[in-house]
């Protein structure tokens, strides 16, 4: 049910994720942020078991920060991706994390990068990626409409088309999405796409 997808554009990478926290048939909240800011120029969109998702991404975030403290320079995006893969691979045959990850980062030397990391620690650098039931729709839309080197407006338009498709075609489509981008100016939240706002609390 969790929909996470992302793509690389001209000098930036964008990630979009649904914002529903679900347990069986109950929606706990519809503004759960699943895209974590790993460091100044990296974003991690994670989908999977909620506990594993939060634990694993926080663990990686703190280790990435530790590296920067110890060595004075931040990890590159490929290094962070390989670190994540290594942690998932080590845990795989002991105590596996059920988390699928899309890592988007911007390095000064190489530009924007997007990494696809499966829950069984398959790592691959991609231009566009998606996880979850939403991937059946968003990957096809992106296959048709994606070009390399898209501008920010074009990329956000493509993201919106994917969100529209998921909303209209997925049976239990999540109502709200968050979009975050990373470029030379850093990782930041770009927009929310809400079709269902939380009901205001009843007044006493």
């Amino acid at each position: 049910m969790e929909c996470v997808f992302g793509l690389v554009g001209d000098g930036f990478a964008v990630l979009a994720a649904d914002t529903s926290a679900v347990n069986s048939i109950l929606v706990h909240k519809s503004n759960e942020d699943k895209i974590m800011v790993l460091d100044s120029h990296k974003l991690v969109a994670a989908s999977g078991e909620p506990g594993d998702r939060v634990q694993f991404t926080e663990y990686v975030q703190k280790n990435v920060a530790l590296y920067q403290f110890r060595n004075g320079i931040p990890l590159t995006t490929p290094a962070a991706a390989n670190f994540m893969r290594g942690e998932l691979a080590t845990a795989l045959r002991k105590n596996p994390y059920s988390v699928n990850i899309l890592l988007a980062g911007y390095d000064k030397e190489t530009g924007p990068l997007l990494y696809f990391i499966d829950y069984i620690a398959t790592l691959h650098k991609v231009d566009k990626g998606a996880f979850g039931y939403g991937s059946y729709f968003s990957l096809s839309i992106m296959d048709r409409l994606y070009r390399s080197g898209m501008s920010l407006e074009e990329a956000i338009d493509l993201v919106d088309k994917c969100i529209m498709e998921i909303r209209s075609r997925l049976v239990v489509a999540p109502p709200n999405f968050v979009i975050k981008i990373v470029d030379k100016d850093g990782a930041r939240e770009y927009a929310w796409r809400e079709s269902l706002k939380d009901a205001p609390g009843a007044s006493a």
Binding site: A89, L92, R93, K94, I120, A121, H124, S135, L139
Partner: protein
Amino acid sequence: MGRLINANDKVNDHQANESCAFFNLSPLHSGLHFSAGRSPIPAKLDAARRIDTPAGSPMSIFEYNGSALIAMVGKNCFAIASDRRLGVQLQTIATDFQKIYKVHDKLFLGLSGLATDAQTLYQRLVFRHKLYQLREERDMKPETFANLVSSILYEKRFGPYFCQPVIAGLGDEDKPFICTMDSIGAKYLAKDFVVAGTASESLYGACESMFKPDMEPEELFETISQALLSSVDRDCLSGWGGHVYVVTSTEIRERILKGRMD
């Protein structure tokens, strides 16, 4: 060996321990009996290595990502080729996934099967080879490397890497060497060609009919490419182009093939 005890079997511990003892296996080390309930591989990959697909019918763990690999021997040269698909069961994730790695200028390793294990195995093997290079101050011979791969795979006999390697190299006096092995390191040396992956049955047929001994590099390239493309066209889990390396004692030629992109 003890009977395959499925983690989902409603066999009680006592019974399972008895059968393990009967076959002189200690329950802790039988490896196939997960008494603590926590299996070493996620539940989806467990259960006799069958995984459920969205379509319903279970697939083998070896078919999770999809792959096709061939290595062929020519006249003082060899060629190694792979498909380029990375999939997750029936969904294609990428069409530029690398399955053939260069260990050194005269030794190539192709890894088919589960992509995560292929990546882990490749990292371990490159590490071992680099150590060897530092200690011995020379590159590993293909025969030696094949033995190394075999023993690393057998180390994990009761919790294996789900990979089938294809090793191709030029040995002493630049004599071509190819071999493949199963996921627990049983080596199969061949003089003509070796294949691995989800398309292996088609690959065997194609190679058997197209192969001739002592082909020159150009003809070898044509032969291996045609064998690869025609075989992956019959396999839904591999394809999306091809990646061919033709290696002689003086040069390595890497070529990308465009086949049916489906």
